[in-house]
């Protein structure tokens, strides 16, 4: 492949992964590459990043694709060539495995990035090979490599080492976990590189590159992703709030304020050069949020609640209720300026109150809500129901919901599942959707759009 082919393939792959790289930006990248020296891979990466990546969250995707198209090394590299047949015994078990784990433990303890990178390459080469029957059929597995090395067993040892070095226990746990995580990511990256080398980069890009954090499905998120998403909620709220004030500002030009205009015209000899207008009153509603907090959709409900509360200035009041098969009010959890982590803990604790038998029952929850808190829904309030509508085939209490929706000024149902799954299995999303407009809300981007739309 010529250099130009690689460049074009790279840009194509970026576009396929959702980065909007225009032709002009591609040309800029080439212009930038002409101005720098190519001896250093990081320089090339930085030059590409400056010209092609215009949004910080996309940087992760960019790096992953860059690593595939401009790999760090070919095969096992120069240093690794001697590794092929082990001197004593098979290369991937027995003393060799022991020796490798020793080296890894040492590198993890010292936190030496270069050593970890080299070991990741070695791990994939030694333990991750999945020989195929013919050329092009063999592959490499990060999973197998990590299973054989099992770095999680090394965590304990690492923690002990750090404790001995005078780090306190909690800190040591966190540090050890993070370093092992780094190693696991390096191994995954190297396996990708190997596969790309074998099969061509375009085969790898589509399957291995994860969407950016704001496009990641709530239901598909890993634990670490959820933490990262939580960090995103506050900035997202800030962006939304900035956008809202700006839009309200733009719409604020009401009728002409004759008095102020005439007064201002005195400065310009009676010529009214600038006109002044009366501001419009912003319109605010009460928001009633009713969230399903059963296991499958709990994280989605939490994000939505956090976002709604971060934007509470845009509403005149917010009441929040959680349910599994019983309803409990959680409005008090969200004090102004409350700490995010505390709020999450209290929310998690409230789930136990919201469940009598622990099985989601929308019908029962809605009925109980209407009985106990029905008065909070009125002509000035908007009702927002969060949940996947999977009610374990129980009674749906459709008339109750219809009555609530009829009383409210607006009503919406946010569903974290893809629209094609609505109405499958025990999902009653389609039937509820007939009563209340149902909106698909699978990731932070969609959530942001929706919340922006209703305020």
């Amino acid at each position: 492949m010529s250099l130009l082919d690689t460049h074009i393939g790279f840009v194509e792959a970026l576009r396929a992964a959702g980065l909007s790289v225009s032709l002009a930006e591609g040309l800029d990248a080439i212009g930038a590459l002409e101005k720098v020296r190519w001896h250093d891979r990081e320089t090339v990466r930085a030059a590409y990043a400056a010209t092609l990546v215009k949004r910080q969250p996309q940087r992760v995707t960019f790096d992953a694709i860059f690593d595939i198209y401009y790999p760090r090394l070919i095969g096992s590299g120069v240093a690794g060539d001697g590794l092929a047949p082990g001197a004593e015994g098979p290369p991937d078990t027995g003393p060799e495995l022991e020796r490798f784990r020793e080296a890894l433990a040492e590198a993890l303890a010292s936190g030496d990035q270069q050593a970890l990178q080299d070991l990741a390459v070695e791990a994939v080469a030694r333990f991750g090979a999945m020989p195929g029957r013919g050329p092009g059929l063999s592959s490499w597995s990060a999973y197998t490599s990590l299973q054989r090395v099992s770095p999680s067993e090394l965590v304990e040892r690492l923690v002990q080492g750090l404790l001995a070095a005078g780090v306190d226990a909690e800190e040591a746990q966190r540090l050890a976990g993070r370093r092992v995580g780094v190693f696991a990511r390096l191994v995954e990256g190297d396996a990708r590189r190997r596969i790309a080398e074998e099969k061509g980069p375009e085969h790898v890009v589509g399957v291995t590159v994860r969407p950016t954090i704001d496009r990641l499905d709530f239901t598909a998120a890993r634990r670490s992703d959820l933490d990262e998403m939580r960090r995103e909620v506050y900035p997202l709220a800030r962006r939304l709030a900035a956008r809202l004030t700006k839009e309200q500002h733009a719409r604020r030009r009401g009728p002409l304020d004759v008095r102020r205009t005439v007064r201002a015209s005195m400065a310009t000899g009676g010529v009214p050069l600038t006109t002044h207008h009366r501001p419009r009153r912003p319109h605010r509603t009460d928001l009633v949020v009713l969230c399903d907090v059963s296991g499958s959709v709990a994280s989605f409900a939490q994000f939505t609640l956090l976002l709604v509360y971060a934007l509470r200035e845009a509403f005149s009041g917010v009441r929040a209720f959680t349910f599994v098969d019983d309803v409990v009010e959680v409005t008090d959890t969200f004090r102004p300026g409350a700490d995010v982590v505390d709020v999450m803990e209290q929310l998690a604790a409230s789930i136990s109150h919201a469940a009598l038998w622990g099985r989601t029952n929308y019908g029962r929850a809605l009925t109980r809500f209407a009985e106990e808190h029905g008065d909070v829904v009125g002509p000035r309030s908007s009702l927002l129901v969060l949940g996947d509508g999977r009610s374990n085939y129980s009674d749906l209490a459709l008339p109750v919901l219809a009555d609530l929706a009829g009383r409210a000024r607006h009503a919406w149902w946010l569903n974290p599942e893809h629209a094609r799954h609505w109405g499958t299995g025990d999902s009653a999303a389609d039937r509820y959707g007939e009563v209340v407009p149902m909106v698909e809300c699978r990731n932070l981007a969609q959530l942001g759009e929706f919340v922006h739309g209703i305020v």
């Binding site: 930038a32 720098v36 320089t43 400056a50 910080q56 995010v340």
Partner: protein, 294 residues
């Protein structure tokens, strides 16, 4: 055309001598912005040195700095140019007083009031018309309205400004343009396409220590190390506003002023207000770092 920096290494060295410690990506992007003659869009949280980068480039290259501070409601008249209406009105009234034959007077006046004399140049036009090397800093571009971005397009891509009455003013010398943004709003694709993009984030511990010690000369090395360590730990917590470089530097100044020789937990708890500006953030930090509450 000015050459701003000779290479990325040159950029690093000269920015450092101007008191700004860069990392490799920043130096390379600054060099590319000069070499390609493209504007540089710097994005990042508050207090990581976005504005300072523009000032450092100006200091390092001996160029003049022209600053356009963006805010909500910024318009053409404050960003580009404005006709001095009051002076024009006076001019018209004066000419009417002089001669009663309005026809000839008007055609004269009409040509007269749209000349340089009545033009008030604002930062964008000023930067373009300057003959000396210029760094144009467009600060907090995300605070403006969408319409202003449209206004920037002509300036950013062709470095020219069109004034209907005077014609098009083209830059004799391309200014080094730096746009900064807090990402409170997504900028339009058109603006982003014309710029090189540089995300600035919190620096790694080593660079941060170098920055703090270079900014606050009186600080002892041991305290600097403790300070950076504490700030890194604070950033790992889930805070509303994580402390940035500006806050670390402030903290260092505070410690120097208090003549603290050792940053122990009591001192951290006492001076936490310098780095954390939300009450809930402070409570969280005290809880997580197990500091004794005040």
């Amino acid at each position: 055309m000015t050459t701003w920096f000779d290479s990325a290494a040159d950029a690093t060295a000269r920015l450092q001598s101007a008191g700004y410690l860069t990392d490799d990506a920043t130096a390379l992007t600054a060099y590319l912005a000069g070499a390609l003659g493209k504007p540089l869009l710097v994005e990042g949280p508050a207090g990581v040195g976005k504005t300072e980068l523009a000032k450092a480039v100006a200091r390092a290259t001996g160029a003049g700095l022209v600053r356009l501070q963006c805010y909500e409601g910024l318009d053409e008249a404050r960003a580009l140019y404005e006709w001095n209406y009051k002076k024009q009105l006076l001019r018209i009234q004066a000419s009417q007083a002089n001669s009663r034959e309005s026809d000839t007077a008007w055609s004269e006046t009409h040509d007269d009031i749209f000349t340089e004399e009545f033009l008030l140049t604002r930062p964008l036009l000023t930067a373009i018309r300057r003959d000396e090397p210029t760094v144009l800093l467009i600060d907090e571009v995300d605070k403006t309205d969408i319409e202003v971005e449209g206004l920037l397009l002509e300036v950013l891509s062709d470095f020219q400004v069109t004034i209907p009455e005077l014609g098009t003013v083209t830059a004799t010398r391309r200014p080094f343009v730096v746009l900064t943004s807090n990402a409170s709003r997504e900028l339009s694709e058109a603006v982003k396409r014309r710029c090189l993009f540089l995300p600035l984030d919190y620096p790694d511990a080593e660079r941060e220590r170098a920055i703090v010690t270079s900014q606050v000369p009186g600080l002892e090395d041991a305290v600097a190390a403790q300070l950076v360590d504490a700030v890194v730990r604070l950033r790992e917590l889930e805070l509303k506003k994580a402390p940035s470089i500006a806050e670390s530097v402030d903290w260092a100044r505070t410690l120097v002023a208090l003549q603290v020789g050792d940053l122990d937990e009591a001192t951290v708890a006492r001076t936490l207000g310098v780095v954390l500006k939300h009450a809930s953030d402070q409570q969280r930090a005290i809880k997580e770092l197990k500091l004794a509450a005040r």
